[in-house]
C-alpha cells in the first residue's frame, strides 16, 4: 500500500500528467484509502514541487505541470472518497475573474500556487457575474473569496461583490489582485488581502486563514 502511495507522490514530482490518472485508478482498485492517497501521495508531492519553486530551483511551467498532474489524479480519487469524509486542506478558496473581464492567466497562476500550497481551490473562470460569486459562496462556504481584474474599467466589480458577500457572511475573507490593483485600492473596496504577484497571494491567503 505504501509503495503505491509513494509512486503517486513521485508521479506529481515528475510531472507525469499523461499517465497519473491510470496510476490513480490502480490506487482505487488496490483498495488503498483514497483520502490517504490524496493526503500522503498527491499533497506531499505537490508540496515538494511547490517548495522547489519557492526556492527558485524549478520554473513556473514545472509547477503548473505538477499541479496538472495532481488535478488529473484528484479527478479519479475524489469521487472514490466515502461521502461525509473530506481531505484536510489549509482552507477552501473560491476564485474567479470579475464580470466583463476575460483575462485569466494571472488568476490561473494564483489558483495553481494556492493548490500547490495546500488549499482547495474552486475556480469559477472568467467574466463571472458579481451575483454568481455571492451565490456560489453561499453554496460552498469558502474560507476565502479571491478575485482578479486586469482593467481599470472592471476593477470596481470587486467592490460590487464584496459588499453583499460580507453582508451575507462576514466570516468570508476576500483577496483581490490584478495588474491595476494596488493595496490602497484593495482597502477602498473592503478586501481583506491583496497581493501584487501569485507567490504573494499564497502568503496573503495563509495569513487570512491562520
Amino acid at each position: 500500500m505504501e509503495e503505491i502511495v509513494t509512486r503517486l507522490k513521485n508521479a506529481v514530482i515528475n510531472y507525469e500528467m499523461e499517465t497519473i490518472a491510470d496510476l490513480a485508478k490502480e490506487v482505487v482498485d488496490s483498495g488503498v484509502d483514497p483520502l490517504v492517497a490524496i493526503e500522503e501521495g498527491l499533497a506531499q508531492g505537490i508540496k515538494t514541487v511547490g517548495e522547489k519553486f519557492g526556492k527558485g530551483e524549478i520554473f513556473l511551467p514545472e509547477l503548473v505541470m505538477g499541479a496538472e498532474a495532481m488535478k488529473a489524479a484528484l479527478a479519479v480519487l475524489e469521487p472514490a472518497v466515502p461521502s461525509g469524509k473530506h481531505r484536510a486542506t489549509l482552507g477552501k478558496v473560491l476564485i474567479g475573474t470579475v464580470q466583463d473581464d476575460i483575462h485569466e492567466i494571472g488568476k490561473n497562476l494564483v489558483s495553481t500556487m494556492l493548490s500547490s500550497n495546500g488549499f482547495e481551490v474552486v475556480d469559477l473562470g472568467v467574466n463571472v457575474p458579481s451575483e454568481d460569486f455571492v451565490k456560489k459562496a453561499a453554496e460552498i462556504k469558502p474560507n476565502i473569496l479571491a478575485m482578479s481584474a486586469l482593467m481599470t474599467t472592471t476593477m470596481p466589480r470587486m467592490g460590487e461583490v464584496i459588499a453583499p458577500l460580507k453582508k451575507e457572511d462576514p466570516s468570508v475573507k476576500t483577496i483581490v489582485g490584478g495588474a491595476p490593483v494596488t493595496d490602497v485600492y484593495a482597502k477602498e473596496v473592503g478586501a481583506d488581502g491583496y497581493s501584487g504577484d501569485a507567490s504573494g497571494a499564497v502568503d496573503s491567503a495563509k495569513k487570512l486563514v491562520g
Binding site: M17, F59, L60, P61, E62, V64, M65, A67, E68, I105, N108, D183, Y194, S195, G196, D197, S199, G200
Partner: protein, 492 residues
C-alpha cells in the same frame, strides 16, 4: 546550432562598414605604412625589417613597410585560434561563431569590499576577483583584474599570473609581458602550469595582450617580448588604442587607420620572425573627452570603434579582441549604461573576444559588485545576439493546435524545453512585484550584487595547481625578484 557550447553563440550581425569602406581602410593603411611608416624602438626588430626589404631610418628609429610584406604576413597568419584552459570545458574557440567575454585587467586600485575604502590593489583582491570570474557564466577568459601591488615590484606580474592560475580553471590572458625577461618568466610559468612545453604548445592556457603605442609606435621591450612569446607558442593580441582627437584623427575611421597600421606592422614583425604564430587582432579606440581630459571608455564611439575593429579583423580573416570599459566611479546607473553601450555594439558586430568588464574609472578601479553586475549585462546581451530561426520546433504549430483557443501554454513540455534555451534567466535583475520587493527590504541591484559576491566568495571552489607545480612557480618568482628603484626589493 553550433556544437560548441562554451562562450556566447551568435546568429545576429549588423554591419557598419561596407566592403568598399573596408577596402579603403585597408588600402589607406598600406599607404600610411609605406609612406609614413612606424617607429620601431627595438634594434632587433629594425634589423629584421631591414633584412626583409623595409626602408629603415636609424636616427628616427622608423621603418617604412612595403605592402607586399603586409600581404605576406596576412597569408601566414593563423585564423582559427583556441585559447585553451586548465579546465578543458572552458576552452575558448575563436571560430567566428562565438563571442567570449573577458574581465578587464590590471587595475591598480580597489575599493575594499568590507570597509569601502579606496586603496591600492593587493594580491588578495586579485585572488577574490579571480574566483568570482571563475564562478560567473558570462566571463569566459580571465585577465588578472588588478595588480598585486603589495608584492615586490619586480615580480608583481608573476604573482598576478600565479594567483590567476591557481584561482580559475579558465584561460588566463595577461598584458604584463613588456620585456624580454618578462616574456621568458611568464612563458616558463605557463609551461609549468600546463604540464610542460610540449603540452603547452598543444594547448596554450595563457596568452599575452600587447599594446602598441599611438600614433604609429612600437615599444622596444614590448616587441622583443612579443617575438619571444611567438617563438614560445604563446598566443598574442596586438591591441591598438589611438584616442580620436588626441593620438589619432578625430574621425573614428581615421583612428581605425592609425590603429590598423600599428596592428598590421606588429603582425609583420611577428610573422617574419615566427611564421604561423597565433596573433589576435586587438583594438580599443575611445576618444579623449575634450572637457575632462579623461579617456571616454564605454562611450558610443568606443563601442562603434570596437565594432569596426572587429569588421577589420574579420576582413583579414583574424579573430578580434576589442575593448569596453567605463568611466563611472561607483557601481550604478552610469556604470550600467557604459557597460551596456560598450558591449552591445561590438557584440552585435560579431566581436570574438571582448575585454573587459568589471573595472571602473576607465579600467583602473576594482569594485567586486560591478563585476557581477556586468556579468548580468553580458548575459542579457548574449540573448540579444543569439539569433532566431523558424523551424518545426520554433514554429510550434503542433503545440498551438494542441492548446487551441483561450488556454495557456504553461503545462506544455515545449514550454519547458524552450524556456531553457530561449528565455534569459536573470540573476540580479529583480522582476518581483512592488509589494513583494518592498516587504523584503527594497533591495537595490547593488545590494543583490553584494550578496552574490559574498555567496561566491563563501562557496565557490576552484581546484588549484598541484603542490609540485606551485613549488616550481614559487621558485621562479623568487629567482626573478630583484632590486628596483634605488635598491628596495620589497615594500614592507
Amino acid at each position: 546550432m553550433s556544437a560548441v557550447s562554451y562562450g556566447i553563440a551568435r546568429g545576429i550581425r549588423f554591419q557598419i562598414l561596407s566592403e568598399e569602406d573596408l577596402d579603403r581602410i585597408h588600402w589607406g593603411t598600406l599607404h600610411i605604412l609605406e609612406k609614413v611608416g612606424v617607429q620601431v624602438d627595438s634594434p632587433t626588430c629594425r634589423k629584421l625589417l631591414k633584412e626583409n626589404g623595409c626602408e629603415i631610418d636609424e636616427k628616427a628609429r622608423s621603418a617604412r613597410i612595403p605592402s607586399h610584406l603586409v600581404e605576406e604576413a596576412l597569408s601566414k597568419k593563423k585564423s582559427a585560434i583556441t585559447l585553451a584552459a586548465r579546465d578543458r570545458s572552458y576552452d575558448a574557440r575563436l571560430d567566428l561563431n562565438h563571442s567570449y567575454m573577458c574581465a578587464n585587467g590590471n587595475g591598480a586600485v580597489a575599493v575594499d569590499f568590507e570597509t569601502g575604502e579606496r586603496r591600492n590593489s593587493t594580491k588578495k583582491d586579485l585572488v577574490d576577483s579571480t574566483r568570482i570570474c571563475d564562478a560567473l557564466p558570462n566571463v569566459h577568459i580571465h585577465w588578472p583584474m588588478v595588480s598585486s601591488t603589495d608584492m615586490p615590484a619586480s615580480v608583481v606580474h608573476l604573482h598576478d599570473l600565479e594567483a590567476s592560475l591557481n584561482n580559475t580553471g579558465k584561460h588566463v590572458m595577461y598584458e604584463t609581458g613588456v620585456t624580454l625577461e618578462d616574456a621568458k618568466n611568464l612563458t616558463a610559468m605557463g609551461y609549468a602550469a600546463a604540464g610542460g612545453e610540449k603540452e603547452y604548445r598543444r594547448r596554450p592556457i595563457t596568452s599575452c595582450l600587447q599594446c602598441t603605442y599611438a600614433p604609429l609606435q612600437h615599444d622596444a621591450g614590448v616587441m622583443d617580448a612579443s617575438l619571444e612569446f611567438a617563438r614560445n607558442g604563446v598566443p598574442l593580441v596586438f591591441f591598438c588604442m589611438p584616442q580620436p582627437g588626441a593620438t589619432g584623427p578625430a574621425s573614428l575611421v581615421g583612428s581605425v587607420v592609425v590603429g590598423n597600421a600599428e596592428v598590421l606592422s606588429a603582425l609583420v614583425m611577428t610573422q617574419l620572425s615566427s611564421p604561423g604564430a597565433a596573433v589576435i587582432y586587438g583594438l580599443g579606440i575611445a576618444p579623449l573627452d575634450m572637457k575632462t581630459t579623461v579617456r571616454a571608455g564605454g562611450s558610443p564611439e568606443h563601442a562603434i570603434c570596437s565594432a569596426m575593429g572587429t569588421e577589420m579583423a574579420h576582413y583579414y580573416g583574424m579573430p578580434s579582441c576589442v575593448g569596453v570599459s567605463g568611466t563611472a566611479k561607483e557601481p550604478g546607473i552610469q556604470a550600467a549604461i557604459e557597460t551596456y553601450t560598450g558591449c552591445v555594439g561590438p557584440l552585435l558586430a560579431g566581436a570574438d573576444l571582448m575585454c573587459g568588464i568589471g573595472l571602473l574609472e576607465d579600467s583602473s578601479c576594482l569594485y567586486l559588485e560591478q563585476v557581477v553586475i556586468d556579468d548580468e549585462i553580458v548575459g542579457a546581451i548574449a540573448r540579444l545576439i543569439r539569433g532566431e530561426w523558424a523551424d518545426d520546433e520554433t514554429l510550434a504549430l503542433d503545440v498551438i493546435e494542441k492548446v487551441g483557443i483561450g488556454k495557456d501554454y504553461l503545462a506544455q513540455k515545449h514550454t519547458m524545453q524552450f524556456l531553457r534555451t530561449d528565455h534569459f534567466m536573470p540573476s540580479l535583475i529583480d522582476r518581483r512585484s512592488e509589494d513583494t520587493w518592498s516587504t523584503t527590504g527594497k533591495k537595490t541591484m547593488r545590494d543583490s550584487a553584494r550578496e552574490k559576491v559574498k555567496e561566491i566568495l563563501g562557496k565557490h571552489e576552484v581546484k588549484p595547481l598541484s603542490d609540485e607545480v606551485n613549488k616550481d612557480l614559487a621558485a621562479m618568482i623568487k629567482k626573478a625578484e630583484k632590486p628596483m628603484w634605488g635598491g628596495e626589493s620589497r615594500v614592507e
